[in-house]
């Protein structure tokens, strides 16, 4: 398993955990600030995870095929983010109508949700593209 696959697995697990935590924790009124802080800390850990892997001297870890796989994944994630964001904005309007109102707390929830979905999709795409190779494809 290469570095990209390890990061993808880690991000997939973190995104799955956050996806479970998001509806259960963020709806609790008293600790919303702490919840937001906790999510930022988690995102920070996710970002720093890449630093845990040291670059091995003299070993190629990221070549043109890796670049192509990441590029394809990012392209799909771009469309997923837009689709999710547009859906999240349109659905409340359709449900509540033009005179309805929602709490502003929904806005960071949409932001977190978009990030989590993007992470999930990106990780799955990375693993699928690397994994389509049978035994020798690692």
């Amino acid at each position: 398993m290469n570095k990209a696959q390890k990061c993808a697995w880690f991000n997939l697990i973190m995104a799955a955990i956050l996806l479970v935590l998001l509806p259960t924790r963020m709806l609790s009124f008293p600790s919303r600030f702490l919840d937001g802080l906790a999510f930022f800390i988690v995102f920070g850990v996710i970002g720093l995870f890449v630093l845990l892997f040291r670059k091995k001297q003299g070993v190629v870890e990221f070549d043109e095929r890796d670049k192509l796989i990441h590029k394809r994944s990012l392209l799909v994630v771009y469309f997923v983010i837009w689709g999710f964001f547009i859906t999240a904005c349109i659905v409340p309007y359709l449900m509540l109508g033009p005179t309805g109102s929602i709490s502003v707390y929904i806005m960071p929830v949409i932001l977190y949700g978009t990030f989590i979905v993007a992470m999930l999709v990106h990780s799955v795409l990375i693993l699928v593209q690397y994994g389509r190779g049978g035994k020798d494809g690692q």
Partner: protein
């Protein structure tokens, strides 16, 4: 023109070149072993510079290593 498939005989050339391993070939051309595996199995079409480096590693021309097959 239908969809074409790029086939190769890298595996045979590796064995002919003193049983060169995939890792050795990867180190020689500057890619990962996974890329060499994917290229051998026809799941990845290398870029022209990489194809030329692979062919050069065996002392062959690109057309001797890679073949374009029409589906």
């Amino acid at each position: 023109m239908g969809s074409d498939r790029l086939s190769n005989n890298i595996r045979r050339l590796r064995f002919d070149a003193g049983e060169m391993t995939q890792q050795q070939l990867a180190d020689k051309v500057g890619v990962t072993r996974q890329t060499i595996i994917a290229t051998e199995q026809g799941r990845y079409a290398p870029s022209l510079p990489l194809a030329m480096r692979i062919a050069g590693a065996f002392g062959k021309g690109v057309e001797e290593v890679f073949r374009l097959e029409e589906k």
